[in-house]
Symmetry: C2
Subunit: 159 residues, 2 copies
DNA sequence: GTAAACTAGTTACAAATGAAACCAATGTCA
DNA sequence: TGACATTGGTTTCATTTGTAACTAGTTTAC
């Protein structure tokens, strides 16, 4: 049964909506992976992934790079520390922050999860042509930039 | 500072990650819009959007179409009902479910938000070429399908 | 040098969320 | 018909999340 107002939004073809739905499914599929394998959540995995890639970072840097809220990072770091997956080294020059890196155990986890994350990605994006993939990345880039700008300016909307 | 293990995952070029980050920013930017304008959250807006587009649906149908958890739908419907934005009509043939539609107030809200959602989308995707947009949609489609399959089979991972 | 402003990170609290239990109604199968 | 399974929807409960307040440390400006 359809409506008869002036303006109807076709959700199925509404890009922001489709983007969010796709991401939520991807996220769900991915979470299951990490979670059930090592008892860590998405936030924890992201911390590990950052440290696995960059070696040593502060919590602040992790938060910035991974677009995670600082409390989320804080908690993820806490649970990973409890699991002995992280090494924390004080910064003599600024005692507020600390340098974080993967412990041997953490490194093992990274080394084990990273390839299966890659494989999972392959399953999801594998059959996409490389032109489409390039286009997809371009769009993601511009949208990410635009949305970020809108999100933190709290931009006034057009009515 | 970089690591020296065998396998390193470059997050910046890892599509699932980028997809999720983009979606989260879009979602955030969007939420701010609806939320601050009518005191409704994303879930509520999605319910309104479905009803605005399709006229009359059961809670179940809304959940299926919008990929929302049934408790989320239930609660969104409850708060929208409290705000007099919904009309509920019993189904004589199956008393478990009820037919939901927008009340005049709900319709007003829809008529007001839908265009500004469109405008917001335009801001985010506006400068994307139509070829890139088409490619983007194709990729979203395939990924959504793939991820959905993986998500609910609880698929065994490749190690 | 010191007061005020600021920053990294944690904690307390309230709201949002999902899993599972639940209720009422419907369907199935003998 | 009547037991059993199933379904639409709500509620309960534990967990997750973000906002705001807070602590400790650092920078700025006078």
């Amino acid at each position: 049964m359809s409506n008869n107002e002036g303006f109807v939004l076709r959700l199925e073809s509404f890009l922001p909506y489709r983007l969010v739905v796709a991401a939520s499914l991807v996220s769900q599929a991915t979470a299951r992976t990490y979670a059930t394998k090592y008892g860590i959540g998405i936030a924890e995995w992201r911390v590990i992934a950052q440290l696995g890639e960059f070696g040593t970072m502060t919590a602040k840097q992790i938060g910035t790079r991974s677009h995670m809220h600082k409390t989320k990072v804080s908690r993820a770091v806490a649970t990973l520390t409890k699991k002995k997956m992280l090494a924390k080294r004080a910064n003599r020059d600024d005692k507020r922050e600390a340098f974080l890196s993967l412990s041997p155990i953490g490194l093992e986890v990274y080394e084990s999860i990273a390839p299966s994350a890659q494989a999972l990605s392959q399953r999801m994006f594998g059959e996409v042509s490389s032109e489409d993939r390039a286009a997809f990345e371009r769009v993601l880039d511009t949208v990410t930039a635009r949305a970020a700008a809108l999100a933190d300016t709290g931009a006034e909307l057009p009515d």
